[in-house]
Amino acid sequence: MEKKPKLAIIDYGMGNLRSVLRGWQAAGAEAFLVRSPADIARADALVFPGQGAIADCMSLLVKTGFDHSIREWIAADRPFFGICLGLQALFAESEEGGGCACLGVLPGKVVRFRLSPGFKVPHMGWNSVSFRPDVEISKGMDGRQFYFVHSFYAAPADPALVWGRTEYGGVSFASAVARGRCHATQFHPEKSQSGGLQLYTRFLTLI
């Protein structure tokens, strides 16, 4: 039998990662939670599911040393997957909570939805994603719907980073970004039923 890819999920103590863990397991990975950067050494891929407020997330990443691990991992172009706040944290800064410096792995900033009345924030529910046709793991998935829940979104400074776009309230925002083997989604694949798990399964083929 073929060996399952080993996938480390960063657990910096902000909450429940059960769905993320089960999602990756269902997609075919030998997935496990890691609480210390030392534990990622044996992993083939790194997953960063951000949770809570960005300021708390960043201070916990710095405290645990995961900030360095993430930067080094992506700099070496090893397979990486960020989810929700795990996408936003990759950028240089976020305006959440009055402003917060982030990991600065990708150029650009994270901004809040400013929409006309009638459009609710958070952007919550299932929305479609237009994927860039040349990204291997989303081939054939253009227009699929995924589950979102967020009030902020990333505005990449480099348009080449945009992997997928989603429209909400007249704003077309980067709902997925990619560079090399670094991938990140604003939506939650682990909450997006079969389409989400398919995306995880495809990502595992990069390993």
């Binding site: 429940n16 059960r18 089960r22 999602g23 919550m124 299932w126 039923q193 798990l197």
Partner: protein
């Protein structure tokens, strides 16, 4: 385009679905995990579990139901009923719930909404508002304890306050309409939806598919919740979505 969410709600007592669920292919109509899986297959966009268990040992059973559901269903799950403290909330989120809904506890201790939404994130904290039309004047008041206690609070004002405190969503139930099959209280739904920035889920009174469409088009809700029309097999989730689509409402198909 963002789809309107269709959300079935399952009442759970001591780990069993109250009254059962009437799906032809379901082996055990009382098993909430099987019911959740069946709804996922039908294309439900989210799921709400309402725990009506009175005893504290029942809470442990509910956490187990949530954990087993989270292991098998890859869709958002909200759990409400009897959550009193931030410890209760943490335990339910750790079990695998994506959101918790607070009702009586929020009214008794509004700081619970502020504290838990800033710690766990606004998106985790839903405030459930049970509202009844005033007899003496215009408007609606908030009820707690499953509709038994009139708090005297104005429902629209209360919605504004909990959103200011950080609630990420409002689950709005008309106690006048709940169980009647006469449709949502559309005036109430619209008044609350237009008063707050966060999404409002319409609940209470659905008897047919037109009621769901009215909740969106006339009530301005972001999502529609129903229980009996789905449980008793009157309509499937897919039929509900076909109807909503025929009314020009964007829905997700599976």
């Amino acid at each position: 385009m963002l789809s309107v969410r269709v959300i079935p709600c399952l009442d759970v007592n001591k780990g069993r679905v109250v009254k059962g669920v009437n799906f032809v292919d379901l082996i055990d109509a009382g098993d909430p995990v099987l019911a959740a899986k069946a709804y996922e297959k039908q294309g439900a966009d989210e799921l709400v579990f309402l725990d009506i268990t009175a005893s504290s040992e029942g809470r442990g059973i509910m956490r187990d139901v949530v954990a087993r559901t989270a292991d098998q269903c890859f869709m958002p799950v909200t759990v409400g009923g009897g959550l009193r403290s931030s410890e209760d909330i943490r335990a339910m989120l750790n079990a695998g719930a994506d959101k918790v809904s607070l009702n009586t506890a929020a009214v008794q201790n509004p700081d619970l909404v502020s504290d838990t939404s800033s710690f766990f994130g606004n998106q985790c904290i839903v405030v459930a508002i049970d509202a009844k039309r005033r007899k003496d004047a215009d408007g609606w008041t908030v009820y707690t304890h499953g509709g038994r206690n009139d708090t005297g609070r104005d429902a629209v004002e209360w919605a504004r306050e909990v959103v200011r405190r950080g609630a990420g969503e409002i689950l709005l139930t008309s106690m006048d309409r709940d169980g009647t099959k006469d449709g949502y209280d559309l005036e109430l739904t619209r008044a609350v939806s237009e008063a707050v920035e966060v999404p409002v889920i319409a609940s209470g009174g659905v008897g047919n598919l037109q009621h769901l469409a009215d909740g969106i088009l006339k009530g301005r809700a972001s999502a529609v919740l129903a229980a009996s029309i789905f449980h008793f097999g009157t309509y499937t989730i897919a039929q509900a979505k076909d109807f909503l689509a025929s009314q020009g409402i964007p829905v997700r198909r599976v």
